[in-house]
Every structure is written in structure tokens, then in C-alpha cells.
Amino acid sequence: MTKIGVVIFPGSNCEYDALTAMTSLGADADFIWHSTDTIEGYDGIILPGGFAHGDYLRPGALARFSPVMSAIAQFAKAGGAVLGICNGFQVLTEAGLLPGALQKNRGLTFLCQPTTLIVASTRSVLTRAASKDQELSIPINHFSGAYTCDDATYEQLIENDQVVLRYKENPNGSRDDIAGVSNVEGNVVGLMPHPERAMSTLLGSADGRILLEGFLRAPVSAS
């Protein structure tokens, strides 16, 4: 069985949802408290949504200094699968594990709504079970979700096929409709939408399964 660790920072709030989603897919999942400085025996790590450290200063700005982050950086360097959802994505960019930054939404309001995503690349640990250009219905829930980067970074992203998901209709002013990106190797992925909220048609959509099932597959070493 695949073992998944869900990191809790004080102020995280989607940790139970991430855990529930993973166990419903058959994973063996447990929580990792942010002050832990080693992570061992995990096949994948999830940084869930929420407001780590209250999002004070900037989303992710304080969380990136938590002891667990150095351990995650090592885990990622060794090829471990790391997924940041929403606030987790913000933490990964602040920590420099993913390029770019997340800015306030264009409309300057929080947005909780369904969105349609388009799979832009299937070479990441999150999208490997999806097909390119596949449309997925997955909700967003954020205030600072507009992906931003400078031109040089953007060119790199395109060249290395690091844009993994785009919005069909841009809700927040994200550059090039970007909803999620990966690192060059494809083993670290962040996205603003919440796949764990799209696990069942009772709650509106089951498309999140396609992404999270892919993430659960034993880590492949990306080329």
C-alpha cells in the first residue's frame, strides 16, 4: 500500500479532507506535524490547503521556515512525489521548490467556485493518469491564486513542459491561465484548485480522483 504523509502547519485546514481523499483511494495516509524534521517511509507528501500561520505576511511566507520544509526539500531532491494543494502550492513557491509566485486574485476577492481545468502536461506525478487536453471539473477556493512569474521563468516553464493544468476560463488573472505547475523533474507539483474536493458526484464532481489516483501510483523517476 502506498504511504502518504499529509503535513499540518498551524492554520492548515484542509488536512482532514486530503487525508480522507487519500484513504478513500486505498492509501495508507497519516499526518506529519510541521515541527518534524525528518520524513521517512513515505511514498508521497501532500501539503494541504488552508492558512498556514494565518497567511500572515504572505501565504506560505512563515510556513516555509518550518522544520519539515527542509526535510521535504531533501525528499523532493531524492525524487519523492510532493503535491501542494492551494496553500500548499503557495508554500512550495515560497520555499523555492516550485517557480513563480501566487498573487491576489485579479478581482481582489476570495473565490470559491467550480472551475474547468485542462490538462496541459501528463509528465507530472499529478497528471500522469490523465490525458492531455482532458477537461476536469474541480473547484477553486482561494484569495491569492493568480500565478505570476517573470518572462524568463515563463519561457523555462513552457520549454520544460512544466505547466500541468490550465483554467478553461481564467477566474483570477493567472498568467497564461496557469492553474498548476511542476518542477523540471515533474515530481513536485502545485495547483490552486482542490482535487480532494472533487472525489464524489454526491459533492458535485469525481474528477479529482483522476489526479489523486495518478499521484498515488508508485513514484516513477521522471526523466
Partner: protein, 758 residues
């Protein structure tokens, strides 16, 4: 400033006769600190002194009620070993001066009421009332309040799943911000805010204490009660009593408190709300029949030079008081440290004393060090429960008969119905899109429909297939015309909302927002409202398990319309499939279910409708409340929808209740929800299109014969309204509109109004 100095007790809001009462209790003159404690605890806000004698008339019991009014939140047994706690409160006055923080701290306060009971907060709702949006200040208020609820609720991690949004000029100077919270707990973990066990410790958890919200008692500073440093300047007295919310602190506080309760480390627990530490310590001591010594020096402070009266009455946010045994202190301290929650021992539970009549009386003693000087010593119960009760004069407004006779139902001519309909459409999505409505993976029906529907699941709860439904409702237009029937119909509408998602109503909470209780008309409205609520609850078999009263919503001598808000909690036995919802399908048959005509003066009264208000008509009569026929209709509809939720085969494909804006609005909303039109039979008049009396549902079925048979068996009326399909909505010869136009008008109405420039 130059006039003779006001006596201190009056400056603290106490009347001369209240001062006499205090002297009788104490058998001596109170010192200034003691006066300050009585001043806040005997305020209208804390003591309900004007409303309490009326609230006693509400029905509060039922077999499934575990905790009724009087505790921090009401609690029902929802089955499967799960209890649901629910509570509603107002944060009106703070929101009027600092809308963001006023609303944010309102959310924080209501959450504490719920997790105090041991329940994990799972849902927030926010009934909001503002003046008309053509005024820039109202737009500032709306944007501030909504972002405050969003900013706090989303961050603290509790989904906001619904509410109300009303614009009326009567709220221009008195916006109303009510917040409801529901939470769930394993039934056996229920805890109450009681201090017991002499020798136990009172531990203050959470934020440090500053001079927040000291408003009323700050007169003590200028009254020469500033102690050594008489330097308390006028500046301090004028200090804004605005509290700032910290959702991050609250989130950690919730987790720490729930873990303390899970591990059985506390004897009792109580939130610090209005009146802060004095309220929490005196209430817990009074409930336990014990005394409490509080050391003001042990309270961690955020500001320098704070005086005992400030420490005792501060309304600093994000604090809780836990009563624990001394043996558990090390474990409590360790657990709190993990969550980065500050914990300090600020009180000791002590033996009650015997008074002159040999009765045992728990005293609240405020001390300067646990062994130090006693700064104040008063019976805890006299603060918490023994405020004077007032039966204030009541009078039916003299002008009411003329208002009732000015009935828009018979207005002629009535204008183009299609335009009237478009003007009634407004989707509050701009509001609820800003709220996380999905956290915890429970939200089956979120904001924007009739009632919110959640799976009854959450961290630490036993597994269950059940669902809970919640709806908040109000209708100040009806209540202005007839508070007694108005609130009864409001409750009916709320039960109808629950029926739309398959839930049967189990309990009511209410928030009574009224004007100045010293106006006899306002007290009449309040008293009538309590009677109407009682009648409706008895007729529909519902207990009232909690509430809140907000008075003095007046400005410039004019009171708001009576605005009782109700929150209804319902249960769905089996929730494995979503209810049908609004979206109907081509070819299905549209039916009107329920009483087609209201009893009363006119078959379709227009008094108090949104249609009439839109044209400046505020008079007229409203429908009567017919308990038995409403109950039969609600049971039938809830049963039909519950079958769908349970996964049973059903011919019902859509459902929506007739609410604000009447039948035409309900039909238009359904058409707009998925862009499919309909062709409806001739309706006879504007009155039939726009009358709002509740207890009616628009439903769609793909087997009208079978549906009608079931309804007849239940004794419920059904009228075939027409056929669903096409891209137009046609209602007889009165309305003919492209569905697209309906949908775009409905979705843009609110944003357009907010964007309007003066």
C-alpha cells in the same frame, strides 16, 4: 463636560433602582470595580432584562433536545451517536462602525459558542441586512462585512454555507449582521460551561488581554478611577471599542480545546464573549453553585497599565476559560504548548459561603494576587442570573390600521409583469462565492439554493449516512405589518426550504433584531413576535433551542422594522444522492404543490411582498398561518425529496419553494438555473404571480399521474402548471421572456448595483 458630574452608576448604564438592587444584594455600597462588573453584566446585551419575561413563553422541549436555551448553544440528538449544536447571534453595532472587523469578530464569537459545547464547528450562515445600494456608504458596508466574514471564516476553516441578503432603507443607519454556527460532536462528549469541584483551576486559554471593547465602562477612566496612574487620558476614554479578530489564533484554539475535551482533561469550559472574564467566571461559578477567586495579575496582558476593571471586562477576542483539576494542569499545559495556545491559571474554584439566611452563595472575588487584597467580592449568581427583569410598556402602533388598509393587492393598473419579474431577480452569488462553502467534504447543497444540505460527518464523529439541512430566514416586510403572523409565516418558509432538500425540521434558533425597547411599539412587536413564534413552533412540532436578542437598533429616533431571524435545523435520514434541485428537464411536467390560495382577506395577498416594496408600497395585509395544511404539505414534499436522497427511484426531477418574489420568481429561478424554459398556464393576476405566502412548491415530475396520486393520498393539492422545455419562459399572456435574459439579469443584478457610481 461642564455640567454636574453624572453619578458613576449612571455613567456605567445602571439606573438608580438598579443601584438599590445592588446595595440590597451586597448589604453595602458597591465599590467602583464592583459597579463596573454589574454595569456590564446587567446591560441589556448580557442580561436580556427587557426580553427575558417574553422569551419564557417559547416552547423549548422535545424528546431529541439535549440542551435547550440558556447554554452557549442548543444541542439536539441527530441520531447515530451524533449530536448537533447550533446557535445564532448578532454583531450589528460593531459592524456598523468597522464592517470588516465587526463581521469577522461576529464569526469568531459564534464559533466559540459552539465549540464550547464540545462540538466541532462545521457550518456558518450569515443573514445580512443593509440599506439600499444606491448609497456609497452601504456599498462600503456590504463589501466590508462580506470580506470580514470571508476573511475570518475561510481562514479559521469553517465553511459558510448560506445566509440572507436584504436591502431596505430601514437598515441604512443600522445594518444587521447575524451569524449562525452549527457543529457536531459524538453525543457522549457533550460538555457544559460549569465550574465544579472546589480546588479546581480556572485556566484562561488563547489571546492576551488588551483594552478591546471596553467602551461602556471606560467612563471609569475619566471618573477618577484610574488608580495610581491617573494618567488615563480622555484619549483612552474615547478609544474606539473595536475588536480585531485573529482567525489564526481561533483555529489553534479550536483544535486545542477539542483535543482537551477529547482527552477528558477539562471539567467545564466556557467562551469569553461580551463582558469577557467577568461573564465567563461568574457564569461558570453560578452554574456550578461554587465561588471563584480570580487573580487579575495572572491574566496575560497585551497593553501596559491596565486596571482591574479593564482586565475583568475586556472583550479581547479568541479566549476561552477551562475549568480543570490541578492534577491535569501539566497535561493541559503541554497540549496547549503544542498548539501554540497560551494557557494561564487565572482562577481557583472555592467553597460557596453561607449568607445571612444560611443559604450557600458562590462569591466571585477579584483579587490582586491569589493571596492578595480582595478588590471586589459579589455573589456570582447576582451578576449572571439576577439582573432585574423588566416588563416594559407595550402598545400596538396607532398608525397600524391605516397601514394595513393601504393594500397594494388591489392596485390598478399594475404595469408590465415581465419587467416586474426581472426587477425581482437577484442572485447573491457575489456574496457567497467569497466564502469557502465546501471544507470538510460535506456540502451536498451549498449556498444559492433553498436550504444548505451537509453530510453529517467530520473529524472524530462516528460514521453516519445522515445529512443535516440548515436554512436561515426572515421577512421584516411581513413582520412590520403583522409581527405575530409574520414570524409564523417566516418559520413556515424556513421549514419549506428544508423540505426542498428532503429534511424534516428538528429545531429552531432565533435572533430577534428590534429597535429601542423603551418604545412601547417596539416592545409590542417583540412580544407579538414571541407569541407568533410559539404558535408556529407548536403547530409544526418544533422546539426553540436557542437565540439572541439585539435591541436598540434605532437611529434618529426611528426603529428598524422588526427583524426576527430564524435558523432551522433539519435532518435527512439517508443521504447517498443529491436532492433534485432546481434544474429541470425538457419534457417534464411542472406542478404547483400546496395550498394554491392563502386563507385570509384576498386569495393572493400582496401586502409585504418584494413586488409591492419595489414600487414603494409598504402597507396591506399578509396571508394567515394555517398550521395543519402547511404541515401536511411540508411532510409530503420532504418525504418525496428524502426518497431521492436515499437513492430510491423517483419521478421527481426538480423542486423549489415559493418564497420572496412569489411564484413567478420561483419559476424564473428554476429556468435560469440550467437555461431550460417552460410554458405555463394562464395565471390570473399580478397577485397570483407575485404573492409570497409560503407553503407552496414548484416541482417537476416525469410521471405526473403517479405524482398526483401520491399527493392526493397525502391530502396535498397539486395543480399542473405547464410543460418544461425551450428557451423561452412563458406564463400565460402575462410573461414572455428569453431564459437567457432572465439568467443574465439575475446573475448581474447584485454586482451591477455594487458597481453603481453616485
Amino acid at each position: 463636560m461642564n455640567s454636574a458630574p453624572e453619578p458613576l452608576h449612571r455613567a456605567l448604564g445602571l439606573t438608580d433602582s438598579e443601584l438599590d438592587d445592588i446595595r440590597t444584594v451586597l448589604r453595602r455600597d458597591p465599590n467602583p470595580l464592583e459597579l463596573a462588573l454589574y454595569g456590564v453584566m446587567w446591560s441589556e446585551h448580557c442580561s436580556y432584562k427587557s426580553s427575558r419575561i417574553h422569551l419564557k413563553r417559547l416552547p423549548t422541549t422535545a424528546a431529541h433536545v439535549l440542551v435547550g436555551p440558556g447554554e452557549n448553544a442548543g444541542v439536539i440528538d441527530a441520531g447515530d451517536g451524533i449530536a448537533v449544536a447550533i446557535r445564532i447571534e448578532s454583531h450589528n453595532h460593531p459592524s456598523a462602525i468597522e464592517p470588516y472587523q465587526g463581521a469577522a469578530t461576529g464569526v469568531g464569537g459564534i464559533l466559540r459558542d459552539v465549540f464550547t459545547m464540545g462540538a466541532r464547528p462545521l457550518a456558518v450562515m450569515d443573514p445580512l441586512f443593509f440599506g439600499e445600494l444606491d448609497d456609497a456608504r452601504q456599498r462600503w458596508l456590504v463589501e466590508g462585512v462580506v470580506s470580514g466574514i470571508s476573511g475570518y471564516g475561510n481562514s479559521v476553516g469553517v465553511p459558510t454555507i448560506g445566509g440572507e441578503l436584504t436591502f431596505d432603507k430601514c437598515y441604512a443607519s443600522n445594518p444587521l449582521v447575524n451569524v449562525l454556527c452549527a457543529g457536531a460532536l459524538p453525543t457522549e462528549r457533550l460538555v457544559l460551561g460549569v465550574a465544579s469541584g472546589v480546588g479546581n483551576l480556572a485556566v484562561l486559554l488563547g489571546s492576551s488581554t488588551g483594552r478591546d471593547g471596553i467602551g461602556g465602562v471606560s467612563v471609569l477612566a475619566s471618573a477618577g478611577f484610574a488608580g495610581e496612574d491617573g494618567a488615563q487620558s480622555l484619549d483612552d476614554a474615547k478609544r474606539p471599542s473595536v475588536q480585531v479578530g485573529d482567525p489564526y489564533e481561533e483555529k489553534r484554539l479550536i483544535e486545542a480545546c477539542l483535543e482537551l475535551l477529547d482527552r477528558g482533561l477539562v471539567v467545564g469550559i466556557q467562551d469569553l464573549g461580551g463582558a469577557g472574564l467577568v461573564c465567563a467566571t461568574s457564569e461558570t461559578a453560578a452554574r456550578g453553585g461554587v465561588g471563584m477567586d480570580v487573580d487579575v495579575n495572572a491574566v496575560p496582558l497585551r497593553e501596559e497599565g491596565m486596571q482591574p476593571y479593564e482586565i475583568m471586562t475586556s472583550e479581547s477576542q479568541e479566549r476561552m476559560l477551562a475549568i480543570i483539576t490541578p492534577e491535569n494542569w501539566p497535561a493541559v499545559a503541554t497540549l496547549c504548548a503544542k498548539w501554540e495556545v497560551r494557557a494561564s491559571i487565572v482562577g481557583h474554584v472555592v467553597e460557596p459561603q453561607l449568607d445571612a439566611h444560611g443559604r450557600s452563595v458562590g462569591m466571585l472575588r477579584v483579587r490582586d494576587g491569589f493571596d492578595g487584597e480582595i478588590l471586589a467580592e459579589v455573589p456570582a449568581a447576582s451578576l449572571a442570573d439576577e439582573a432585574p427583569l423588566y416588563d416594559r410598556p407595550r402598545a400596538r402602533p396607532a398608525s397600524l390600521d391605516a397601514v394595513l388598509d393601504d393594500d397594494p393587492t388591489y392596485d390598478e393598473p399594475q404595469g408590465v409583469a415581465s419587467d416586474d419579474l426581472l426587477a425581482l431577480l437577484m442572485d447573491p452569488a457575489w456574496v457567497y462565492r467569497q466564502y469557502d462553502s465546501q471544507l470538510f467534504l460535506n456540502t451536498v447543497v451549498g449556498p444559492g439554493r433553498d436550504a444548505a444540505l451537509l453530510r453529517l460527518a467530520g473529524p472524530g464523529l462516528p460514521a453516519s449516512e445522515r445529512g443535516i439541512a440548515i436554512s436561515t430566514d426572515s421577512n421584516p416586510r411581513w413582520c412590520a405589518l403583522d409581527p405575530r403572523v409574520g414570524i409564523a409565516l417566516t418559520i413556515a418558509e424556513s421549514v419549506a426550504n428544508l423540505a426542498c432538500v428532503g429534511a424534516s425540521a428538528k429545531a429552531v434558533v432565533n435572533c430577534l433584531n428590534f429597535g429601542n425597547p423603551e418604545h412601547p411599539e417596539v416592545m409590542w412587536q417583540l412580544s407579538e413576535t414571541v407569541d407568533g413564534m410559539s404558535e408556529a413552533c407548536l403547530a409544526l412540532g418544533l422546539p426553540v433551542i436557542g437565540g439572541n436578542v439585539s435591541l436598540y437598533n434605532e437611529s434618529g429616533g426611528s426603529d428598524i422594522d422588526p427583524t426576527p431571524v430564524v435558523g432551522l435545523l433539519g435532518v435527512v435520514q439517508s443521504l447517498v444522492a443529491p436532492p433534485p434541485g432546481w434544474a429541470w428537464r425538457e419534457g417534464d411536467t411542472m406542478v404547483l404543490v400546496g395550498v394554491r390560495t392563502a386563507r385570509g382577506a384576498s386569495p393572493f395577498p400582496l401586502g409585504g411582498t418584494r413586488w409591492a416594496t419595489n414600487r414603494g408600497r409598504r402597507g396591506g395585509r399578509i396571508a394567515e398561518f394555517d398550521g395543519p395544511s402547511l404541515r401536511a404539505t411540508f411532510d409530503f414534499v420532504a418525504g418525496e425529496v428524502a426518497a431521492v436522497c436515499a437513492g430510491a427511484p423517483s419521478d421527481v426531477t426538480a423542486v423549489h419553494d415559493v418564497g420572496g418574489g412569489g411564484l413567478a420568481t420561483a419559476i424564473a429561478e428554476m429556468a435560469a438555473s440550467n437555461g431550460v424554459g417552460a410554458s405555463v398556464i394562464e395565471l390570473t393576476s399580478h397577485a397570483e404571480l407575485f404573492s409570497e405566502f409560503p407553503g407552496r412548491f414548484v416541482m417537476a415530475t416525469n410521471d405526473v399521474e403517479s405524482f398526483t396520486t401520491r399527493a392526493a393520498a397525502a391530502g396535498v393539492d397539486v395543480v399542473e402548471l405547464g410543460v418544461i422545455g425551450g428557451s423561452q419562459l412563458t406564463i400565460g399572456s402575462m410573461i414572455e421572456l428569453p431564459v437567457e435574459r432572465i439568467a443574465s439579469r439575475r446573475s448581474s443584478a447584485l454586482e451591477d448595483a455594487l458597481a453603481s457610481l453616485d
